[in-house]
């Protein structure tokens, strides 16, 4: 009788632990999804701001380059996103302040800061999720179902403005 009770207690604890981990993983995936959406929105906002700046630059190679980079970023699919966003970062670093009106540049500055924040928070969410995903029990029981392992988003988003230079 005691053995049976012990076995039941153990089973209950085990089930509790597995459901708790599954719930935890579910919350983490929700966090990654939300972070991904926010990062996507931030990148789109940056590309749109870059396009607005390009439209105000005097015609020439610099304006062409920036608007091409912004268009490529807006149209990029999942596969090449990092590379295309990196190209945009590089093009942005070359623009000379003062050539576009202040509000347009201010929006670009805000948009770039948002990319920096969204990317950092996204990668933290990915890191937290991967720690649990890569443990033995969740892998063996396939607690994550068919969800692919979340991937980090790595681009160089440093951009020399007063606000970001203070935070980088």
């Amino acid at each position: 009788m005691t053995d049976l009770l012990l076995a039941i207690a153990f089973l209950a604890l085990l089930v509790l632990y597995i459901t708790w981990t599954a719930g935890r993983l579910d919350r983490l995936h929700a966090r990654v999804d939300a972070a991904e959406a926010a990062l996507d929105a931030a990148l789109v906002r940056r590309a749109a701001a870059a396009r607005a700046v390009a439209a105000h630059l005097p015609p020439g190679a610099q304006a062409d380059r920036l608007s091409a980079a912004a268009d490529a970023a807006l149209e990029a699919g999942e596969a090449h996103r990092e590379q295309v966003e990196n190209d945009l970062s590089r093009a942005l670093r070359r623009i000379v302040p003062g050539l576009a009106p202040r509000p347009v540049l201010a929006e670009l500055e805000t948009a770039t800061t948002r990319v920096l924040l969204a990317r950092s928070f996204h990668n933290a969410a990915v890191a937290d999720t991967r720690v649990i995903r890569l443990r033995r029990m969740p892998r063996a029981l396939r607690l994550a179902g068919h969800r692919s392992l979340p991937q980090f988003f790595e681009i160089d988003d440093t951009y020399d403005t007063p606000s970001t230079s203070a935070s980088e």
Partner: protein, 425 residues
């Protein structure tokens, strides 16, 4: 926005984190946000307690990391924390030092929704993280956005918790320091100022005193003005008798007098040997326009922009320190140039800049969480509590208990299946 801030350390005990939270709360209010701060308070009836402070009870002193930490834990604090979260209706919860066993940690455990955490701690021997890191992980992974106040603090976060943290420096009220006058009846001429605990070795006063004889040789009328708590007699004993009349020890100075202390020197000297994560005192000195000579520590190098906004000297090198101080005291144009660059550099640390960056984090984080801050209630556990409450002492209690547990177990199993289906779809 409605912002709930949790501060782990006792509000009415002076400290860096408390000062940071107070300044942040004031500036957020100034920007038109609503703020509530949950923190341990020793004297909830103190007349100068800000209206936004919600006391979480008295803290218990516990020896920790070589000093005494005052912590709050237990069912009463947890109840208060949960009530604060429930009644606050916050758009964002901002916890400071969530790894310290106090209200920040309790709030992180209890809340769901957009949570921002600021990490101040920079010691590499963070015992709390080493010992409790894994146990705290389930709570820490609820944090939506992490902020570190210095590169050192950020490194600790990344090493122990993985992932990333954005850097937002500590804020300084630049306007409070700008254009300060010297202390009454004093001229700054040929005066070097030191400010910091005089009995704490890492502040490096010993290096400055060691440099004094050589400095006197270079600048015959040089004077040393030392401000900070500690035993003045020990300092006097370390100075050769013939030079004692050049050293003046002010002792502890008030926050209000601090700008005037910096302004009472022609140069501010920070000979720290190690352990500085940020260098807020440098930013304060720079804001008064007093040029800075500081040890070449990572944190100082950053604030002084690799030597553009102040002079860097090798750590612990008294000879180099004397030389640098002597040179700067004899070179008015260079002092002026450093002061101009420094005044520009400190703008990045002004609270107006810093608070704006924090608000940007709030906005980003609020967009990342589906609901505002709320307290989790496990519906299954609640229903189980109701069922168990129905056990009223009649004969078939045991039977009901078993039935309840059996049902609960099968619900749990179904929940696992449902979760699996949801993630697979």
């Amino acid at each position: 926005m409605r912002v709930g801030i949790a501060c782990p350390y006792t509000w009415d005990v002076p400290g860096g984190v408390q000062a940071h939270v107070r300044d942040l709360a004031d500036h957020l209010l100034g920007l038109g946000h609503e703020v509530s701060v949950l923190t341990p308070v020793d004297d909830p009836d103190a007349p100068d307690l800000p209206l936004y402070v919600v006391p979480a009870g008295r803290a218990v002193p516990v020896p920790y990391n070589g000093s005494v930490a005052r912590l709050v834990f237990g069912p009463l604090s947890l109840t208060r924390t949960r009530r604060w979260l429930r009644e606050g209706g916050f758009d964002v919860l901002h916890v400071h030092e969530p790894i310290v066993p106090s209200v920040s940690m309790l709030a992180t455990f209890a809340a769901s929704g957009p949570i921002v955490a600021t990490f101040h701690h920079a010691s590499t021997r963070s015992r709390a993280l080493q010992v409790f890191g894994t146990a705290l992980q389930p709570a820490l992974e609820k944090i939506t956005g992490r902020i570190a106040v210095s590169p050192a603090a950020r490194r600790i976060v990344v090493e122990h918790l993985g992932g990333d943290a954005v850097l937002i420096p500590n804020g300084v009220d630049v306007a409070r320091f700008m254009g300060a006058d010297p202390l009454p009846g004093r001229s700054a001429t040929s005066t070097v100022v030191f400010l910091g605990r005089i009995d704490e070795g890492r502040k490096g006063l010993a290096v400055l005193l060691e440099a004094l004889p050589e400095l006197v040789r270079l600048v015959p009328d040089v004077r040393l003005l030392i401000a900070g708590p500690g035993d003045a007699e020990d300092v006097r004993a370390a100075v050769p008798p013939s030079l004692r009349d050049r050293v003046e020890i002010l002792g502890l100075v008030s926050e209000q007098d601090k700008p005037r202390v910096f302004a009472s020197g022609q140069v501010y000297c920070a000979p720290n040997t190690h352990g500085e994560s940020f260098g807020i005192v440098l930013v304060e000195a720079m804001a008064t326009g007093t040029p800075v000579v500081a040890s070449d520590l990572e944190a100082f190098r950053r604030v002084l922009e690799d030597g553009r906004a102040g002079v860097l000297v090798p750590v612990g090198d008294a000879g180099a320190l004397a030389e640098a101080l002597g040179e700067l005291l004899g070179d008015a144009p260079r002092r002026q140039a450093l002061s101009t660059v420094a005044l520009e550099a400190v703008q990045a640390y002004d609270w107006s800049t810093v608070a704006r960056q924090v608000v940007e984090v709030y906005e980003t984080v609020a967009a990342m969480a589906p609901a505002a801050v709320h307290v989790d209630v496990d519906p299954e556990l609640e229903s189980m509590a109701v069922d168990l409450a129905a056990v009223d002492g009649t004969d078939d209690d045991a039977g009901r208990l078993v039935a309840t547990l059996r049902r609960w177990l099968s619900e749990r199993r179904a929940a696992v299946g449902a979760l699996g289906d949801r993630t697979r779809s």
